[in-house]
Assembly symmetry: C2
Amino acid sequence: MKPVKVGICGLGTVGSGSFNILLKNAEEITRRVGRSIVIEQVGARRGNDACDTTGINVTRDIFDVVNNPEIDIVLELIGGTSVAKELVMTALENGKHVVTANKALIAEHGNEIFAKAQEKGVIVAFEAAVAGGIPIIKAVREGLSANRIDWLAGIINGTGNFILTEMSEKQRNFDDVLAEAQALGYAEADPTFDVEGIDAAHKLTILASIAFGIPLQFEKTYTEGISRVTAEDVAFADELGYAVKHLGIARRTKLGIELRVHPTLIARKHLLASVNGVMNAIMVQGDAVGPTLTYGAGAGALPTGSSVVADVIDVARTLTADPTNRVPHLAFQADALSDVEVLPVEEIECGFFLNMTIQDRAGVLANITQILSNNGISIESLIQREREGSELVPLVVMTHEVKERNMNAAIAAIEALPDVAGSVQRIRVENLA
Amino acid sequence: MKPVKVGICGLGTVGSGSFNILLKNAEEITRRVGRSIVIEQVGARRGNDACDTTGINVTRDIFDVVNNPEIDIVLELIGGTSVAKELVMTALENGKHVVTANKALIAEHGNEIFAKAQEKGVIVAFEAAVAGGIPIIKAVREGLSANRIDWLAGIINGTGNFILTEMSEKQRNFDDVLAEAQALGYAEADPTFDVEGIDAAHKLTILASIAFGIPLQFEKTYTEGISRVTAEDVAFADELGYAVKHLGIARRTKLGIELRVHPTLIARKHLLASVNGVMNAIMVQGDAVGPTLTYGAGAGALPTGSSVVADVIDVARTLTADPTNRVPHLAFQADALSDVEVLPVEEIECGFFLNMTIQDRAGVLANITQILSNNGISIESLIQREREGSELVPLVVMTHEVKERNMNAAIAAIEALPDVAGSVQRIRVENLA
């Protein structure tokens, strides 16, 4: 068979990684695919050194790539959502298959992009958009296709996991670790996307759609970052036998779909609690398979490039397949997506870890436990500490499962007590079993 | 599109699981595939209760199923290697696609079966043959297809892992736990396949072929079971910070391929050490992605059925694809398999944990360490214990990496010492990093 011709748009981290894998593993890839995959053209502000030695055509205008009639598959690796969207839509309009690592683009504009791809009979592959090198899209969409997926939960932002791991292992503060993460290149100069959960919400949006067969609904994902988690929270959680992890959770319930990203306490013995540093892992619970977990590098040039190139190979194999009989973009046929409601966060039930500062005075604890009880909240465990030379002491309460709405009412009432100083910190608790 | 018609041969554990999933999740499956998948006929000694209520045709002769002209895909779920092989070969001869959960059949006769499938332009899918519900075949063959796989290591026998977990957590003996595993239905009346590593060797053989692109070579797999591991070994390993796990390991080295199943010490902090009970997990190291791990149920009706039905869905999607452009059976094109040598175990290097009983007498330790040194073996750690009222004491030695050939020579010399009682227990040590 004749070679498959690829055009790469963007030679940043992921673009360079994909470029280097396609060159380095060219022989192994040909052994697998039965035809070679060649880089026909690169569109980038600057070339990769290997472009010179290999004589690959480099253009400064990325739109040259999507308009190049020789190219079968366009790799959109420029990031962002404006130019990237125009680039992808033009590629699709030109009848080209697209492979992208762009989680924001898929989460925010995927419905429109997939509709266009379907209209043109081409594929948009996006394994690299979620959890870097972990083939989780393939696992959920194909490997577990016999299942009705009940829920999934993942550590899907390496920066956040690095920060929480350091806070836990070395009793460091958030700001301190964030500064180190920036110095190490794990976090951007503007860390908002990572630490405020937006990046994780993009990935969760995609995972939920392929798990449940629902349209992409990024705007309905409840998103809370880790920037308010304190070293004290982490230490108290540890004392109670829990790790604090930043999780994306999607769950199918009788009332609707839960779609939420937030710091979460999980038991130390849970496998996800052992996923440390910049690594990612996703747990998926299917009705037939039970619990599964997939672990690996969630970012980086070569791991993310691994997923980009795997997608290229997949697309190469479907070039000669019936377009109506492919794996659908969102795992379910486009006309079979369901419009199950995404639940507002107030309707979600989980356990809570509350951390507050109170006056060390008779009756305060009684008032607080009375408020919890009035709101139907039962206590699982409680830590109250003396603090040398201070009348303000920490109080930590772990509750059983309760609807967020009730917890909101209880927290408002607790914060209104004269003997409670400042606001009540809340971190949700999940057992994931 | 018209329905895909499936014939199920065998209604044991996996057959019933697959049958029940196809019925229960029929609607979800149709939403995914865009056409329904129906059970046209079942071949089994006895029916499933649901056969009666659903009116599915049940035959006592499984060969009726492979000769039924209505059937597109045959599910071989009878197990064993003689009738199963004849059944599969007949199905292929009749131009039918086959899905099987039969690890022994694939590991021992896969080369011949795949050649026939290729000749007839049909698929033999075998996700369920390795690690039950974990989609590890798909992960290695497709999800990590951009990589040159360096090595893989897995806990791929749930019975063995259950036994070792109980031995570790409750300081129990092998025989005692085996009896419980048999009572619980985790182990067969004849536990040889599980505890002597044959089942794991079948699975490792398959994994190694799809990882490295080599023919199936079950007969060259070094296979050692867990029946000689003692509670004392496990306790000493724990004291040194290690867990004892029964691993299948396949590694590509400059000298050839390592292919081996044996009890293995791995560091307690390693993710594989946290995989307990009947669960399975496989770690795969690719040159681009780095380390990955996939975890899930390695056996059972519904988890294994999950993989069988996922394969059925995959085959349904390729029914209208170009047969020359599919994912190859062994991940690499049949004419591109490489004949890299499988190394004899004597050529393999790893660390060793040695447990022996010696006379508590001056000079014995000096003799032993001298023998190790003479064979180029350096010691990493050592435990020697007093034993109340006995002149025989245990000696445990952990060594750095050394070729098995040298270790054999050292152990023979140590066992020949008059002050060493009985034989020296050896368990290999891996860092898997």
